[in-house]
């Protein structure tokens, strides 16, 4: 579709409406759209064409092109059609000549029409990409679609599922780490798609939810657009935490609270013990720091350095959980472990101080000392704050975690609060 198509459709609608009834017509502007308009309205009483450019005045087809005027024209019964980006100036000129606003019609509002056509074409392209991906999987009996790249978002739904009932499903994810985590839990049929493919697929699914029966969408909200059921919108309002009612609403399994039972990752315990031995870490006397998060601005490094020094003074070994290029906090032991071993390592370490990230969700069902630090930021939906939506205690995701808000004015206050737990 292009702007010409839109113009033809607008003219068709105008002809059907009362706008031109019993009126003479003047077209203002000799441009690329003029032939379309003339061709479409040839049966109507077109009395002339206006154009301010002297070079364009004269004749166009069989019509006279003149400078805008009200002379010899019944302005009360003449409609002026404009398909030009200079509409505003043209309108002012006509009004000053005595034309009535109700008789000036903007056939194409270029700002909005260009914007609509562009977005519509993009949306439809993405729609067909989503369809092609769905077609590839439509014969699968059952599919679990994990749309998020976030580990926590992939982990938490598992706590609302009886996993044994789902392990045979084809699982679609957009991250290799999530694939490894799900494989560690027992899912063996996992495909990793590109993030954009997942986005298109979830949008296609959103539009066809009524007919698509083999996809189970594993997230409370749909990404890439606002096609979100109101119940989920309300769920993330101030009254409820993000994951509350997740099992009931999304998985439709009448599970209202996350399971208290730990989800096992099939870790290699010997490997974990060796790691502790190699790094000289003391079981239950080790604090793991997680200073990096995708969804939150990081805290100042000096905060973590000071905290680790204080913890060491209290007799703890201090590690920094890192992955990829992330640097460990100065003076701490870097811990770059496999996701499969992560929970086992945490259980052995016994203590965690994490920025509020997906790792907090992963350790939400194990019994260790946990401190999660939040940094306030407005939630993109505008409904509530980051803390309100990610509050782990509210939806009983973790009843034991200590949750603190980072003190932006004085980070030492946050350190002192953390240390009261150690």
């Amino acid at each position: 579709m292009n702007v010409d198509d839109v113009l033809r459709a607008v003219l068709k609608k105008i002809k059907k409406s009362e706008l031109l009834e019993g009126k003479s017509i003047v077209i203002f502007g000799v441009n690329n759209y003029l032939p379309i308009i003339l061709n479409d309205l040839y049966k109507y009483s077109i009395i002339g064409i206006f154009d301010n450019s002297v070079s364009k005045q004269g004749k166009y087809w069989d019509y006279k092109v003149i400078a805008p005027t009200a002379e010899n024209i019944d302005v009360d019964n003449t409609v002026v059609l404009i398909a030009s980006k200079y509409y505003e100036q043209m309108k002012e000129q006509l009004l000053s000549l005595g034309y009535k606003m109700k008789n000036i019609i903007q056939l194409l509002n270029f700002i909005y029409v260009n914007w609509l056509v562009y977005d519509f074409n993009t949306s439809t392209t993405r729609y067909y990409l989503g369809k092609s991906i769905y077609d590839k999987y439509k014969d699968e009996n059952k599919i679990l679609l994990f749309p998020s790249k976030s580990l926590g978002d992939a982990y938490l739904p598992l706590r609302y599922m009886n996993i044994d009932n789902y392990v045979d499903y084809k699982v679609l994810v957009c991250s290799g780490v999530i694939k490894r985590m799900l494989s560690a839990v027992g899912f063996y049929n996992v495909d990793v798609l590109a993030e954009d493919e997942i986005l298109c697929l979830q949008r296609y699914y959103a539009l066809h939810r009524a007919e698509i029966e083999n996809i189970c969408y594993v997230h409370p909200v749909l990404r890439d657009g606002r096609l979100i059921d109101i119940d989920l919108e309300v769920m993330v309002s101030k009254e409820h935490a993000f994951w509350e009612y997740y099992g009931d609403v999304v998985l439709n399994n009448h599970i209202f609270l996350p399971s208290k039972e730990e989800i096992s990752f099939n870790a290699d315990k010997k490997r974990v013990e060796k790691l502790f031995s190699d790094l000289s870490l003391i079981p239950n006397k080790t604090v793991v720091l997680a200073p990096y998060a995708k969804s939150l601005r990081e805290f100042p490094i000096c905060f973590w350095v000071k905290l680790s020094e204080e913890l060491k003074k209290r007799g703890y070994s201090v590690c920094t959980n890192i992955s990829g290029d992330e640097a460990p906090i100065e003076g701490t032991i870097p811990l770059n472990c496999k996701i499969e071993d992560f929970k086992e390592i945490m259980k052995m370490a016994g203590n965690a101080v994490f920025i509020r990230c997906g790792l907090c969700d992963i350790i939400s069902d194990i019994n260790v000392k946990k401190v999660a630090i939040y940094r306030e930021r407005p939630f993109p939906y505008g409904l509530c704050s980051f803390f309100e939506i990610n509050d782990m205690r509210k939806g009983h995701v973790d009843d034991d975690v200590v949750q603190l808000l980072f003190d932006e004015e004085c980070y030492e206050n946050t350190i002192n609060e953390i240390l009261t737990n150690f």
Binding site: I105, I230, Y381
Partner: protein
């Protein structure tokens, strides 16, 4: 509602016509209302003033196929459409990128879908319309 890309295409054309007819501008909001949910419309109209302040809008163009809708607020401009037009617009809305200033006044179609089942689960009809649908 079964989604149909051709219908969505027609919806875009209809919207372009509405833009032409109403001289649509940056301070306008478009509300699409399909007849059958007058309670939702009534509640939304009650919050219209508040919504307009939030969006810094000056006018609401209410597109509807319901000739029984009475609007007394001077900032709401009612435009009658055919049933087909309204369905096309909803189809467009579903496939097209949604905008803050164009919305469907409904607890059946997105974004209000399933809104009614939350009445009685601790949410009032009023808060579902205000927070859930209008996002005030």
């Amino acid at each position: 509602m079964t989604f149909d890309i051709e219908q969505a295409n027609r919806g875009l054309m209809t919207l372009s016509f509405i833009f032409a007819k109403c001289n649509y501008g940056a301070t306008d909001m478009i509300w699409i209302y399909k007849k059958g949910e007058s309670d939702v419309l009534e509640k939304c109209i009650a919050f219209a003033d508040e919504k307009m302040k939030k969006e810094r809008a000056e006018r609401i163009i209410l597109l509807t196929d319901d000739d029984e809708v009475d609007v007394f607020q001077e900032f709401i401009c009612k435009v009658m459409c055919s049933e087909q037009d309204i369905e096309d617009l909803i189809a467009w809305y579903m496939v097209g990128h949604p905008y803050n200033n164009i919305m469907i006044i409904s607890l059946i179609y997105p974004e209000g879908r399933n809104g009614r089942k939350w009445i009685g689960k601790g949410y009032s009809f009023e808060s579902i319309c205000k927070h859930g649908l209008l996002r005030i």
